[in-house]
């Protein structure tokens, strides 16, 4: 099959799909030879995955055809100006609700989004963001890790490519952050011999670099899923809200975890990042930064991001986010889990950690985050509740200050908030 034929058939197919959704907006079709039939043909023609038995996942698209396909899809999505139709076509192609050739389609999706990143295609990234937000966590983190592999480990200039994405689609960046923070949860596995999995739960330096640079660039990035909730998103997310295992609304919880726990990063992660040969081009200063430096930058950026949470809280309060005005951006359960993780990481032997140890630094960071979060009302929690929550943690001066406050300043609780402004 030459280029034209396959491209033409893909184009043809896309046009058909488009028509279906366009018409559906007007008069929803009910005939049997409509959407379902079309979807089946989609799998056949676009992905060449005939039938629906699972055992037969033979790749029949050549690598070149795959490339043509994602190229064609990229062009189509960019050209499709109707946002709803664009997403419906995208969703139809890569739906995780359909079992047929799921893994292969997901693979193509990864390539497509990767190409979207490379070509700065807002349309592709927006669709991907909504797709990630609306499907199960597993698929979202698969896509995220594929992108991390492509741009953070394999490609030479990949970090720069990703960094510049926040100019293209902030919502994509936000959802990507949610996905990576949930994937790299920094949990320490008990069986130390599983070297691989330990490494896998910690983000690589390049990824940290990307995230911190995004947050530095736009602290409000964290909340753009809440603040930029438009009609399409609301519709789609409402439909999939009932799904149990989806990504959270904002990356706040995950980022807080990263900030606090990064100090305990295993040496293997540190080492590999520091020894990675990057001597060829050092155009950006962050490239040469060490893991812990990246983390303190991230911590700083996160604190800034917390301070920028007001619009999001307003939007929630207005009820424009999923119609739930009581939505918690960072709830107590998540804080509790974080404290538990922190305790697991800390050495239990001494309750007052030595100064400049990673335990103290971690507790201090937690105290800072908690203080700002509470003062910004991101974390809705009374003093007493926080005291009981943080009680098991090793005590540091800062945590004591945050939890109990200095006696003389007891009257003016609002002081930290004012420092934020």
């Amino acid at each position: 099959m030459n280029q034209r034929q396959y491209t033409a058939s893909v184009q043809d197919m896309l046009r058909n799909l488009e028509n279906v959704f366009k018409n559906q907006t007007g008069a929803p079709q009910t005939g049997p030879y409509s959407k379902e039939g079309l979807i089946l043909r989609t799998d056949n023609i676009i992905f060449r995955q005939a039938g629906d038995w699972r055992g037969q996942q033979v790749q029949v698209l050549s690598p070149l055809e795959e490339l043509e396909l994602i190229d064609e899809l990229c062009i189509y999505l960019q050209e499709q100006k109707h946002e709803y139709v664009r997403y419906r076509v995208f969703e139809t192609l890569f739906s995780t609700a359909r079992d047929n050739a799921l893994e292969y389609r997901r693979e193509i999706l990864c390539r497509l989004v990767s190409l979207g990143v490379a070509s700065k295609s807002a349309a592709v990234l927006e669709c991907a963001a909504l797709w990630m937000k609306s499907c199960e966590k597993e698929h979202a983190s698969y896509l995220a890790s594929a992108l991390v592999t492509d741009y953070c480990t394999l490609q030479r200039n990949g970090v720069a490519e990703l960094k510049s994405c926040c100019n293209v689609s902030s919502r994509f960046c936000c959802v990507f952050m949610i996905a990576v923070t949930s994937k790299y949860n920094m949990l320490v596995k008990n069986n130390a011999d599983e070297h691989e999995s330990e490494k896998a739960s910690w983000p690589c330096a390049a990824l940290l670099d990307v995230v911190q640079s995004w947050l530095m660039f736009d602290p409000a990035l964290c909340f753009c899923t809440a603040t930029q909730m438009d009609k399409l998103w609301r519709t789609v997310l409402k439909a999939t809200q009932s799904m149990l295992d989806s990504l959270s609304l904002t990356p706040l919880d995950g980022l807080a975890r990263w900030c606090v726990k990064s100090l305990f990063a295993p040496t293997t992660v540190n080492k590999t990042t520091s020894t990675q040969p990057r001597d060829e081009q050092p155009p950006e200063s962050s490239e040469t930064l060490h893991y812990q430096e990246l983390h303190s930058r991230l911590h700083y950026a996160f604190l800034k991001a917390l301070l920028a949470s007001k619009p999001a809280l307003k939007a929630i309060a207005k009820g424009s986010v999923l119609g739930n005005p009581d939505l918690q951006l960072w709830n107590k359960t998540e804080v509790h889990t974080l404290i538990g993780d922190l305790m697991a990481l800390c050495d239990h032997s001494d309750l007052t950690p030595q100064s400049s140890s990673s335990e103290q630094a971690a507790v201090d960071r937690f105290a800072q985050i908690a203080q700002i979060a509470m003062s910004m009302r991101v974390l809705n929690c009374t003093k007493d509740q926080f005291q009981s929550l943080s009680d098991p943690l090793p005590k540091t001066r800062l945590l004591e200050l945050v939890a109990y406050g200095p006696k003389r300043r007891n009257s003016s609780e609002e002081t930290p908030m004012e420092t934020g402004y």
């Binding site: 490339l67 190229d71 990767s114 060829e280």
Partner: protein, 974 residues
């Protein structure tokens, strides 16, 4: 020079600009370009390749497509190279553009690996190995490429092809990185490529294996094992993990693992074996079932690869002990899903054992030991484990037997399970003989049976036959024999021949065992395991080795036991096989000679007539001399031997005393002997004589003359070195032997309980006449004097009484001979049953009578002779024989009754009467019809006895006081 340098620099700049120019394009545009160029007609221009490289750097999602493109570039380059090889005149080979493109691509890939090896290695590794596979199988049809069977040529061919070499280098480098980073899955791609593109891909496997033998072996085994575990012990409901693709099955995994290992085995066999052993010894983390899983895996590997099985059998057998087995069994119980699994495991074990080669003996031995609870080899085994072995073992043995049968017709292979088993058959035989456990015996029996069916029947059975020492052992032999017999033609012959060939190299007791066992086998009949047919067959087979038996019997170094058993066997053969079958006509001489030699050996060693050995020997000789012709031979040998130098002393021949036992003594004291005074000796002797005789003969002084060389002492008296008792016994043995030979009914009787009546009817007349001639010729042969003496006047007719003066010397010799060979009297008495035969021997009687006449004529004692004196005894015997042989008729033949009463001179007179009668009335010659009457009818011959009786009557008258009562005896009843 300088100018050109700058030009190069400018070119470089231009190039880098160009690259930069493309890289400044948008990602999508680059993709468009790339797609378009891929479909373009002449695909690989340098610019396009550069663009591809740029795309690879820029757009990660285009990675697969670009790499695919690179594969095609390599493929194209290889095609060009192959074309040039095949058609050197027309094809141009690699263009410079193609070369530089290739270099660009290869350097790009190497740059990626150098810069960020950890990330790229796995991608490039799987890509390059798949490309290698594709290209290898893509050009499989090309004629220049060596066939995949010739791996070394194929390998060197591809390695000399530059593009292929480049690709392989990429693969090697990335694999090296992966191995250094300790990535467990680094060989998965090699495995799958190997299963997809074999056998055209094998050269890659071989090359990689040689480059990283340890790593490859370890990974291949580990990867294979983990996949095997997952497929086998992960329940289907769980979605298969990502490391296993859907189309992988246990079999395909094993196949690819084995294919790689077998390639490696040519050069790295020991490493593979060690690695496998290490896997076995250090089971994976899963403590509860880890080891049994390994065992399952390894067994499957072995079942698919005979080569590996053969290489490792010994290693593993050494590792297995009771503790291991117990532990494995525990783990198996934990893992097992049901009896089907056990069954399949068992059949796998059976298969493996049947396929094994080196080490098969120790393997089988181990299994038997385990099944029979042999505490020495493998102690402390749990009962359940033992039961498993007991269950497996019968099917193994059955399969082995089937295998042996199916391979029976084929040529001997050196590389199958029987090779080592067969080599170890002596050990197996030893085991089966020594073991006390019935169970074990049964299994060993089956193993031996299969070894037998595999060309080694005669070896095994003969070994058993030689090694057996008890009846129980022989039972083992017979059982095995009965089982093997239907499958092996002419088994008995083979066993017998093999046994007799084998014992030549063995110590004497083995020969003895063999003979004893053979005797047992052939002599017992009607017992449960031995069919009559077997015995006859065995006996017939023994004919083949008759010569060996004879030589064993005749060999000087053979022990008496051996000889005894050999004779027993000979007897069995002779008594049950027809002489035609034995080819007796050819073998008679050596056979008889040996038997006779043995007979005299027995006599020399002091055997008496009642000894078992002696009886057996006699029985055999009797058996041999069934017909007169055969008897003639036997008789001749026996008698000739009896008069020979060394044997005749057995019967009383006197020899110089330096042959006697005091030879050493006399030789020591030779000097003292020299000084013995003859005179004093003489005086001493004559004094003795006088004191003895003077009482009866007054006034007579006998003169005894001692002869001898003056100065060398007295003449030594000749003396027989054998004691009197022994002499008697020897004589008796010899004569009894001949008596028995001459009997009419001799076959099939136990001669020890068979008494021979001394009547003519009991003996075969023809044999008697044969005996007579033989005896005569033996006597003639005994010394030159006798030879001439008897043949000088060989006429049977007796001369007149006066003529005997001329023959006195000869007569004395004969007399002397008869004295030294008392058995001759017995034989004469035997022959006397047939008077015609006795007549043949009449010269002997004649000489004896002649000597007696001379002796008694010269005697001057007026009293009867001493009853112990030699001449008196001989006289009695002569008369008795003459009577028995009907040379003299009744009244005349009673003269011997007078001998102890009348004086010696009167005896002389009587003897002369007898002489005259025999001279006057010799027995009649054959009648017209050649028929010889059994008894001589003196009356019919019309003999007038009166003149002879007159002389007797005179003597009776002279001694009427003493002989009065005898008178009536000597009157003719008319």
């Amino acid at each position: 020079m300088h100018a050109s340098n700058t030009k190069v620099l400018i070119d470089e700049k231009a190039k880098s600009k160009q690259i930069n120019a493309t890289s400044k394009l948008g990602a999508q545009q680059m993709v468009h370009w790339f797609v378009a160029s891929s479909y373009a007609s002449s695909s690989f221009t340098e610019e396009r390749v550069k663009n591809s490289v740029a795309l690879l750097h820029r757009v990660p999602s285009a990675r697969n497509a670009v790499l695919h493109r690179f594969t095609m570039l390599y493929e194209e380059a290889i095609r060009a190279s192959l074309d040039q090889m095949e058609f050197p005149t027309t094809a141009i080979g690699l263009s410079s553009e193609m070369t530089s493109s290739l270099e660009l691509v290869t350097t790009t890939l190497f740059d990626l690996l150098n810069e960020n090896g950890e990330a790229w290695a796995s991608i490039l590794c799987s890509w390059s190995v798949e490309s290698l596979g594709q290209i290898s199988s893509c050009y499989k049809q090309r004629q220049v490429i060596p066939p995949p069977t010739n791996l070394s040529r194929l390998l060197s061919f591809w390695l000399n092809l530059v593009p292929m070499r480049m690709l392989l280098d990429v693969y090697r480098t990335s694999l090296n990185i992966l191995i250094q980073c300790n990535v467990a899955s680094c060989l998965d791609s090699l495995l799958s490529a190997s299963s997809n593109h074999s056998p055209y891909f094998d050269w890659v496997v071989a090359d990689i294996g040689n480059a990283f033998p340890n790593a490859v072996i370890e990974r291949v085994l580990n990867t294979g094992f983990s996949k095997f575990c997952k497929l086998r012990w992960t329940s289907i409901s769980i979605t298969p993990s990502s490391s296993i693709t859907m189309n992988e099955s246990e079999q395909s995994i094993l196949t690819s693992v084995i294919r790689i290992l077998e390639h490696l085995a040519t050069f790295h066999q020991t490493q593979i074996c060690e690695k496998m052993l290490e896997m076995f010894k250090t089971p994976p983390a899963d403590k509860s079932t880890g080891q049994i899983k390994i065992v399952f895996f390894l067994m499957r590997v072995f079942s698919a690869s005979i080569q590996l099985l053969h290489a490792t059998t010994n290693l593993f057998v050494n590792e297995i002990n009771a503790t291991t087995l117990n532990q494995l069994h525990k783990q198996f119980k934990r893992l097992s899903k049901g009896p089907e699994e056990m069954e399949s495991l068992c059949s796998l074990v059976v298969h493996l054992v049947c396929q094994s080669s080196t080490g098969s003996y120790s393997l089988v031995n181990l299994m038997i030991a385990a099944a029979s609870h042999d505490s020495q080899k493998i102690g402390g085994l749990e009962k359940s484990v033992k039961d498993i072995f007991s269950n497996i073992l019968p099917s193994i043995l059955k399969d082995l037997q089937h295998l042996a049968l199916s391979k029976q017709s084929e040529d001997k292979e050196t590389n199958n399970v029987f090779f080592e088993l067969s080599n170890n058959y002596p050990n197996l035989c030893k085991d089966i003989i020594t073991t006390s456990s019935d169970e074990r015996k049964k299994w060993l029996h089956s193993v031996l049976l299969s070894v037998c069916l595999n060309h080694h029947a005669s070896h095994v059975l003969s070994h058993l036959l030689i090694e057996s020492t008890t009846a129980a052992h022989l039972e083992i032999f017979l059982k095995l024999f009965n089982d093997v017999k239907p499958f092996v033609p002419e088994l008995t012959e083979k066993i017998v021949i093999r046994s007799f060939t084998a014992i030549k190299q063995m110590p004497g007791e083995k020969s003895l065992r063999l003979l004893i066992n053979l005797y047992h086998l052939t002599s017992q009949t009607g017992s449960g395991l031995v069919s009559d047919n077997f015995v006859t067959r065995m006996t017939h087979c023994l004919c083949i080795v008759l010569d060996e038996l004879v030589s064993m019997l005749g060999h000087l170094s053979s022990s008496q036991q051996i000889a005894f058993n050999a004779v027993q066997l000979l007897y069995i053969i002779l008594s049950s096989v027809s002489s035609y079958k034995i080819k007796l006509d050819m073998r008679l001489m050596p056979l008889t000679q040996t038997l006779v030699f043995y007979f005299y050996k027995l006599l020399h060693t002091g055997h008496v007539n009642n000894d078992q050995a002696m009886q057996c020997c006699q029985r055999t000789l009797v058996q041999l001399s069934q017909t007169p012709e055969l008897f003639a031979v036997v008789c001749r040998f026996v008698l000739e031997a009896s008069v020979s130098q060394e044997n005749s002393i057995l019967f009383g021949r006197r020899v110089e005393s330096n042959f006697s036992e005091n030879e050493s003594h006399s030789s020591q004291d030779l000097c003292t002997d020299h000084h013995v005074s003859l005179l004093s000796m003489h005086r001493k002797l004559s004094a003795q004589t006088i004191s003895r005789r003077c009482s009866s003969v007054a006034g007579f002084v006998p003169i005894s003359i001692e002869t001898g060389m003056v100065g060398s002492g007295p003449k030594q008296k000749k003396k027989c070195p054998i004691s009197k008792v022994a002499q008697t016994s020897n004589n008796e043995s010899l004569s009894l032997l001949l008596y028995r030979c001459c009997c009419k009914t001799t076959s099939g009787t136990d001669i020890s309980h068979f008494s021979i009546p001394d009547v003519a009817q009991a003996f075969d007349a023809v044999k008697l006449s044969v005996l007579s001639t033989s005896l005569l010729s033996a006597i003639m042969a005994s010394s030159p004097y006798l030879a001439t003496a008897i043949t000088l006047d060989g006429e049977p007719e007796w001369p007149s009484n006066q003529v005997k003066k001329f023959t006195i010397e000869r007569d004395l010799k004969v007399f002397h001979f008869m004295d030294e060979h008392p058995f001759a009297w017995q034989l004469l008495s035997l022959v006397a049953h047939n008077y015609r035969s006795l007549w043949n021997l009449s010269p002997i009687l004649r000489s004896c009578i002649s000597v007696l006449i001379f002796h008694f004529e010269a005697s001057r004692y007026n009293e009867p002779p001493s009853e112990t004196s030699l001449h008196y005894q001989v006289a009695l015997q002569v008369i008795q024989i003459a009577r028995k042989g009907q040379l003299i008729p009744p009244p005349l033949c009673f003269v011997n009754e007078l001998f102890h009463i009348v004086t010696e001179y009167e005896i002389n007179v009587l003897m002369v009467v007898v002489w005259n009668f025999i001279k006057d009335y010799p027995p009649p010659l054959e009648g017209e019809n050649n028929e010889v009457p059994v008894t001589r009818n003196f009356e019919a011959e019309g003999i007038n006895l009166q003149p002879y009786l007159a002389t007797i009557h005179t003597i009776l008258h002279a001694n009427i006081d003493k002989l009065g009562h005898m008178f009536s005896r000597f009157t003719m009843q008319s």
